[in-house]
Symmetry: C2
Amino acid sequence: MPKIVDHDLRKKQIAEASWRVILKQGMEGATVRNIANEAGLSLGALRYYFSTQDELLEYAMNLVIERVTERIKKIALKELPPKEKILQILLEFVPTDSEKMAEMEVWFTFVGYIRHKKDVFDAQYDGIYHGLRNLIHYMDQEKLLRKNLNTELEIERLYSLVDGTAMHALLDPDRLEKDRIYQLFVYHLNSICIDEI
Amino acid sequence: MPKIVDHDLRKKQIAEASWRVILKQGMEGATVRNIANEAGLSLGALRYYFSTQDELLEYAMNLVIERVTERIKKIALKELPPKEKILQILLEFVPTDSEKMAEMEVWFTFVGYIRHKKDVFDAQYDGIYHGLRNLIHYMDQEKLLRKNLNTELEIERLYSLVDGTAMHALLDPDRLEKDRIYQLFVYHLNSICIDEI
């Protein structure tokens, strides 16, 4: 009897194998052959799920986005004071544990790679900007923000802060460890909110 | 009579050729052969200046740092009001014209590449963090900063803001154009300084 394999599950396993290859060897090593090896599949079997390398990589990138989104949704549903919830959501965008560090590394490598594949990918829009826009608007509605702030520029500032911090945490994890990121985000939130956290 | 070529000048020309190759083809295309072609040199001639690809790439990266540093030194020597000077220096770290856009793109590609070459490169330290540390300390000495700021966290925040903005300007230049970056930096400086710019 043939093994019954869930199609989506197998695609996820292949995507995760591509992450591991990228983590070990960088984008240079992320060939279809290496990824098939890592996933324990033949080249033919892999091609059944993804006909091209770019198709596989796009899927693997979207899976990173999906995971982060799921974690944030979970936090949004928690019973927490608004500012604590906001802080927890912001911390999801930066690599504060080994799992998120790996995701971020894969993401960063992808972004570098697709710069020269504009015809194939459009991953410029990763949803973070719009997510943070919603966050600032939520804070505004909840009357958490100080008066006289420029909401548009606060969104832009938060977006730069989050992505810049994520990049630094990835490149220099010894200097910018979890506690310092936490302090930085609390400090920034306090600077734009009426009440201190 | 043999052509007399300035050794350093020729190395710079080769480094610039490597930038052009990276801009066109990404790191995948940055082979010694392609770079020699772009520079109009034989492979042997290129090897005379750089014996390995990594040696060449390290030189090319350092040349980006050198250029940015030179531009900042020029601004520092200008006769300008302190806050205007600070603003101009901050704007040097983000791609606001095509030359800086190319530098940043090369830099970003390099950083992605060297993540998996830790034994060869240590470009984690690009000088920006220490430059911004000096800037915040200068603002503190000049009594430009508001009271009750945490200087350490202001350095970290500015560092994230600058690098995050640089990355976004590179990835999404249509949305984050020069005027908006200018507004964002003025806004941030005003939020930490006593007097408005």
